[in-house]
């Protein structure tokens, strides 16, 4: 699994309300429509400008706040290929994996990439390549990679339950 995309860079504590405002949580149910509001209260240019496999790079505690899964869903459907951050809020971390959106925790890489540049991430090798070099990060545990490879938790659970029936 590897991707190549343009960087959108943000700061620390990017919270779920600026990623996907609470006022939409029960009125917008279509993931494609969610994508139109991605990062609306942080960067109004993002939803219009983001291209498939673009990469969000941010500081500490990305995704803090609400448990709303739409914060991950809207970014996934906006085309985001991965999020690289110094650290992630725990519920957002789970939600992103469960939506099939890969995350990379790598402080060094965050400090060395700039907005707009193109970077490559190899998830199995745990390598992020950018203009200023190659940075390593610990690959995700096998169990978590399994969920990502199945395209998220729901397809993963579906697969497991089917396997269970066959035994």
């Amino acid at each position: 699994m590897s991707i190549k995309g343009k960087v959108w860079k943000y700061g620390d504590d990017v919270n779920t309300d600026v990623i996907f405002p609470g006022k939409y949580t029960y009125t917008i149910t279509d993931p494609k429509e969610m994508a139109l509001h991605a990062l609306e209260d942080l960067d109004p240019k993002f939803a219009k400008g983001v291209k498939k496999e673009d990469i969000i790079v941010a500081g500490r505690n990305f995704g803090c706040g609400s448990s709303r899964e739409q914060a991950a869903t809207c970014l996934k459907y906006a085309g985001v290929g991965a999020i690289v951050a110094k650290s992630f809020s725990r519920i957002f971390f789970r939600n992103a994996i469960n939506q099939g959106l890969p995350l990379v925790q790598c402080k060094e890489a965050v400090e060395n990439v700039s907005s707009g540049e193109e970077i490559t991430i190899d998830f199995e090798k745990g390598e992020l390549s950018c203009k200023r070099g190659v940075f390593n990060f610990p690959p995700l545990p096998e169990s978590v990679l399994g969920i990502l490879k199945d395209g998220g938790l729901i397809p993963h659970t579906k697969k497991i339950l089917k396997v269970g029936e066959g035994e």
Partner: protein
């Protein structure tokens, strides 16, 4: 070496003799909570390809986020939930006349010491006030638990926070937790279990402990925890006759960090826009104009909160251009506040008494803000756009500070006004 609460309960719930921090365990929760997001979860559940939830008796569903429904969309959402509840024979369903989920679950006896509770809401950490291991998860995870009765959790490191000293007049549990969050930061307890202990916690009533555990997630914590004691037992006696087992950290448990606070000289604390950890003592922000004051939510909508506010407002009128909205956290609290004459006092002062629920806390309805407006709220979050408008500002404080400030139209220190 002894074990922490988190290590002991996750060992128990995963059927292992012992676990270590950082270990990933598969557990089966005792209670799974979802609220207005249940319809969306039900759609994900159907995608898994099975018809019936595995354990309907473990599922608790209160409607609270937008009650009564504000629009056709919200109404349809509620309708779908009611249909799902019937179809799946889920008995623990609480319709719009009950209250906020985090108040309802303990009130209705679903929260027990030593239980594992997962909820599709970040403030599920609240139940740690009763010695439960409880935390927020996402919608897909709830759907998956309904289908499999299992989920993976990482065994967290534990930070112990000792709070000592004498609570000065005008200082409430909200000030204490805001001070801690301001000090440690929005990621100061990221992925960690946080145990609150010390004299102040032992002296604190259950409502205050709930406020602390509720906001533990605002510093990134996975759970908040208070060791159950006589007060816990007494509170639960009236709510449930279910048996429970108290789980406590061993005296020689290994903590990642132990942090000590002495709150004897603490000033009232205010979380300023737009992050919960942007906390300042009231003296630095006193005089800030407010347009709306809100008392309620899962953080501070309990009887003692309404009581404090009514005592401050008794016989006085709120400032003429301020709106004061009061949301009792549950119908039980609403009824008690009515019997005690608390609501009457609040109404006479000019407050609008709203129905139990989340209200405008997440910006859905019942008091959203306009551009340029400022709200002083007892809620737990002040993110940009939180109350429906990204050009508005939200400050967070104790019910006492919100009440006194509503009289003056600006953020005001309550200490000068206490008898």
């Amino acid at each position: 070496m002894g074990k922490t609460f988190a290590e002991k309960i996750l060992a128990l719930k995963s059927g292992k003799e012992s676990v270590v921090t950082g270990e990933i365990v598969t557990v089966s929760p005792d209670i799974v909570m979802s609220h207005d997001n249940t319809a969306a979860i039900a759609k994900k559940f159907k995608q898994v390809g099975i018809d019936k939830v595995k354990h309907p008796e473990k599922i608790v569903i209160p409607l609270d986020h937008c009650v009564p429904a504000a629009t056709e969309k919200y109404a349809t959402n509620h309708k779908e939930i009611r249909e799902f509840v019937q179809e799946q024979k889920i008995e623990n369903f609480y319709d719009i006349n009950t209250g906020v989920c985090h108040q309802i679950l303990p009130e209705k006896g679903h929260v027990l010491p030593g239980s594992l509770i997962l909820g599709a809401d970040s403030h599920t950490t609240t139940y740690g006030a009763f010695g439960a291991f409880s935390t927020g998860i996402g919608r897909s995870e709830v759907a998956s638990i309904w289908a499999t009765d299992e989920i993976w959790l990482r065994v967290p490191e534990t930070i112990k926070i000792n709070i000592e000293g004498e609570i000065p007049p005008g200082i409430y549990p909200k000030d204490i937790i805001l001070h801690i969050i301001g000090d440690l930061g929005a990621d100061g307890a990221l992925y960690r279990a946080v145990e609150f202990s010390g004299k102040v916690i032992r002296d604190m009533d259950i409502g205050g402990r709930m406020t602390l555990c509720n906001m533990a997630v605002e510093m990134g914590a996975k759970i908040g925890y208070v060791e159950p004691d006589e007060k816990t037992a007494q509170w639960l006696t009236a709510r449930t006759n279910k048996k429970y087992e108290i789980i406590k950290s061993d005296a020689d448990a290994e903590y990642e960090k132990i942090i000590d606070y002495d709150i004897s000289d603490l000033e009232p604390q205010i979380a300023c826009p737009h992050t919960v950890d942007n906390v300042k003592p009231v003296s630095e922000v006193a005089g800030t104009r407010i347009d709306q004051a809100l008392i309620g939510t899962c953080t501070n909508g309990r009887l003692e909160d309404l009581k404090v506010a009514s005592e401050i407002l008794r016989g006085k009128k709120i400032y003429n251009r301020v709106r004061l909205l009061v949301f009792p956290a549950s119908m039980e609290i609403f009824a008690q506040a009515m019997e005690l004459g608390i609501l009457q006092e609040l109404v006479k002062s000019g407050a609008v008494i709203m129905n139990p629920g989340c209200g405008p806390c997440l910006g859905a309805h019942e008091g959203a803000l306009a551009p340029g407006e400022v709200c002083l709220s007892t809620a737990n979050r002040n993110f940009k756009g939180r109350m429906g408008c990204k050009e508005a500002e939200v400050y967070l404080a104790s019910p006492a500070i919100v009440a006194i400030s509503s009289l003056y139209g600006e953020i005001t220190d309550v200490r000068g006004y206490l008898k």
